[in-house]
């Protein structure tokens, strides 16, 4: 490297120092709450304050109190939330509900998306638009009629079926649009030639179209799963029995009202978040393009 280019590189790095500092500032803000939760989880106790402040704390004491760095590393909270608390049961509930939501959601969305993509029929536009409109409205607004219908009429309160069906319908509009868009890009000629070769309509859909749409199906599956895994308020409203709580409701249970089990909450949160965050990083590209495509193209 010549002297000149070296100087330029250093100069540029120095010139960009303020920008790096700015980005670092946001990195600190981003990481702080996460490190804080990790610290509480590893502190081995339930209190929010993982450092006992002396009655007349010095500046150093206070700095130590806000530094999210574990001083003692104890996995007691992780062990205990899993064994002493019904947290394992709640995670299992969440997995069942989210898994079933995925199966139901993918089945409903792939068939409907296929029809909307391939066939022209009366009501097609209205159907597509109604899915788009339904996506705009939050489930909370439907909660009163749904609660009366599912809980008071059908007696599906505190059951998994009610929750799974609701989650599937929440996920369907996005999934239908996503899959319809993807099916649109698969050339129709493939299906036509298969039909000429004597394949049935069902075979065309199951053996040709669905395998070709694997990436989109994967995204809809992930989206349906996340809907079921991350949803809080519907589960909190429909599930009364403590043993049937899903993980979000259970985590809230640790720190709601006068309960202050922050250690359990922190450990549980980390356990629940890790798979979600990992999945998110793997599939973020598709999620982002799906979200914006849905909004741009309609």
């Amino acid at each position: 490297m010549t002297k000149k280019t070296l100087r330029r590189t250093i100069g540029r790095a120095l010139g960009r120092l303020p920008l790096h500092l700015l980005v670092l500032f946001f990195v600190v803000i981003t990481l702080y709450p996460i490190l804080w939760v990790v610290t509480i989880a590893l502190s081995g106790q339930q209190s929010l304050a993982y450092v006992d402040l002396p009655p007349d704390p010095t500046l150093l004491d206070r700095l130590r109190a806000i530094t999210p760095w574990p001083r003692t590393i104890s996995f007691e909270n992780f062990r205990s939330v899993w064994t002493d608390q019904p947290f394992g049961r709640w995670v299992l509930n969440s997995a069942i509900v989210a898994g079933a939501t995925t199966v139901v959601g993918v089945f409903l969305a792939s068939t409907a998306g296929y029809a909307f993509s391939r066939f022209r029929f009366p009501g097609r536009r209205a159907g597509l638009m109604s899915f788009l409109v339904a996506q705009m409205f939050p489930g909370v607004l439907m909660l009163v009629p749904l609660y009366i219908i599912l809980v008071q009429w059908l007696g599906l309160g505190s059951t998994w079926i009610g929750l799974i069906l609701i989650y599937a319908t929440i996920a369907i509009p996005f999934c239908v649009w996503m899959l319809k868009g993807y099916f649109d890009t698969i050339p129709k000629e493939l299906e036509e030639s298969a039909l000429i070769d004597g394949a049935s309509a069902a075979q065309v859909f199951l053996r040709i179209v669905l395998p070709l749409a694997k990436p989109a199906v994967a995204v809809t599956a992930l989206f349906s799963f996340l809907t079921g895994w991350n949803e809080f308020i519907l589960a909190a409203t429909f599930m009364d029995e403590e043993l049937l709580y899903t993980a979000p409701v259970g985590l809230r249970f640790f720190v709601a009202g006068y309960s202050q089990q922050w250690g359990y909450f922190a450990a549980g949160s980390i356990l629940v978040s890790i798979p979600v965050v990992a999945l998110f990083y793997v599939l973020q590209k598709y999620l982002i393009s799906g979200l914006t495509a849905g909004a741009v193209k309609g």
Binding site: R12, R16, L19, H20, V23, F26, V27, L31, P33, W36, I40, S47, L48, R62, L63, I66, P68, L108, A109, T111, A112, Y114, A115, R118, F119, F121, P122, R125, L128, F131, A134, P138, V140, L141, M142, V144, P145, Y147, I148, I149, L165, A168, T169, I172, V176, N230, F232, P248, L251, V255, F265, S269, S273, V276, V277, I288, T292, A295, V296, G298
Partner: protein, 590 residues
Amino acid sequence: MRLAPTPRRLALGLALGLVVALGAAAWGAARASLRAERGLAAEDAEALARELAGALEASGLEPEAAARELARFAEAHPGVTAARVLDLPGRALVASTAPGDTGEKAAPRRLGFDEKPLYDLGQELRAAVESNRAGGGVPRPEIEIRTGETAIGVAAPVAAADGEVVGAVFLDLARGAGPGEAPAGGAPSPWLAGLLTLAAALGLFLAAGLGVPALRRRPGLLAGLAVLLFLAAVAVFGAWAAAGIAEELLARRFVRLAAWGAVLGLALLLFVGLGVGARTGRALARHRRAYLYVVPALLTMLILVFFPFFYGVVLSFTNANIYNTDQPVTELWVGLDNYAEILGDTDLVRETPAGRVIDYSSFYWTTGFTVVWTVTNVAIGVSVGLLLALILHRKGFALKPVYRVILILPWAMPNYITALIWRGMFHSQFGTINQLIQIFGGEPVSWFDTPFTAFITVLSTNGWLSFPFMMVISLGALQSIPADLYEAARVDGASGFQQFRSITLPSLKPALVPAVIISVIWTFNMFNIIYLVSGGFPGGSTEILVTQAYKIAFEQYRYGYAAAYSMVIFLILFAYGAWQNRVTRATEGI
């Protein structure tokens, strides 16, 4: 839509419509006569007590007016064997139709010692009304019903014009002998009468259709005739059946049921008669395969989205609450009252003895707060996201992938967990944010004690969680800008800022506009953050529309009111959607 009425379709439509309309009416009539035989039930008692209490509200418990009101009431409702009106502050019996209250004991008079239980019950109801009005906690029943073997007793509070409870009414209702009792007989069965009416109307229609050639060739006229015959048949049958119901409460209930049946029947008549039904059937047959694929999803949506939505619309016109959802909606119908109460609550600032206070439960406060909340959040999200994207996008920016992975974390985290974490960080005693403030010599803040500081908590939480989305969208859009555009601009001597304004911003627009639209909707509906971080504290001041609707439904248990509230939110969202649709033409070419 092309309409194709033919004589055959019209006849079929008339028959089906009449079956529905007359069936509903006959069922209502049969129910009413059964009820008349067996005496009134607890739910009737509640409706009657409410009616009398409402009628007495205007009288102000003035003895003569109250007695007049009571006499009118007793005449309309033969099922009520005794009715008493109490003045609670005056400890007096204002008016009474009870057999014992004559001569020496005739109203108005002071209450006797033996009547203390009545007085106590009245006071209990008054306390319930007052505690319900103050809000919070599970609502207490405002009507007391005691069901015995042969009679039902019911008590309800009477409010004065200013809403203060000043009295109570006590009704005794006779219960007929049990279901074993033989029916009185005599009157013809409503089912038979309905069948006769149906046959007559249909016969008339066929006779006119076949017998008058001029009509047969003019399907428009024939359709008119069908509708006329339908209305006439329903009116005749309805009038006949209503005349046979003596008790006013039952008659009203019958009329409402019959009206619903008539509306439904008429819709069916038009659907089948005008050929819409036939066309629907043909379309179903022709596009069999397409519908086969759509049906599972559509059916689920129909049952779990569209039907509940429709039911929600119906609920919004009722005063349904946790105690009465088992009653038919026609019983709970209050018309536009809920909407009037929501939209009519314009007294944002109230005068109280303690000075002026803002009514945080007012719809307009909540709407205003929701708008401020949405605008500030989206503004923060866009500006921070765009700023970071512009920095990271600089050519050869060191550590860019590392920064990106870290900065995207808040988006990947489940938002309820984020919310609970931030709530812990804002804890007034142990929260790390107050520790930080103390380092700089400040006093710890009780974050959830004033609306402004509570707003800061939810805003920081949601800001933390929402900027990555905008950053990622902006980064993607920046990457798609061709580099030669900038080169050309540099050759033309454009400054950095000019390049930003004329190249970067316009190229970002197609990606940013939909992202902003979608995040406006997300933020507007961001239930979890508000509900879990501030919980609406203090005093509901940081409630947004969706959390408010939830609390009305599941903390105050006013289902009807909550449904109306949700409908208003739907309308706001719908108006926003329609507007942004026009702006972006988002749905072109599907």
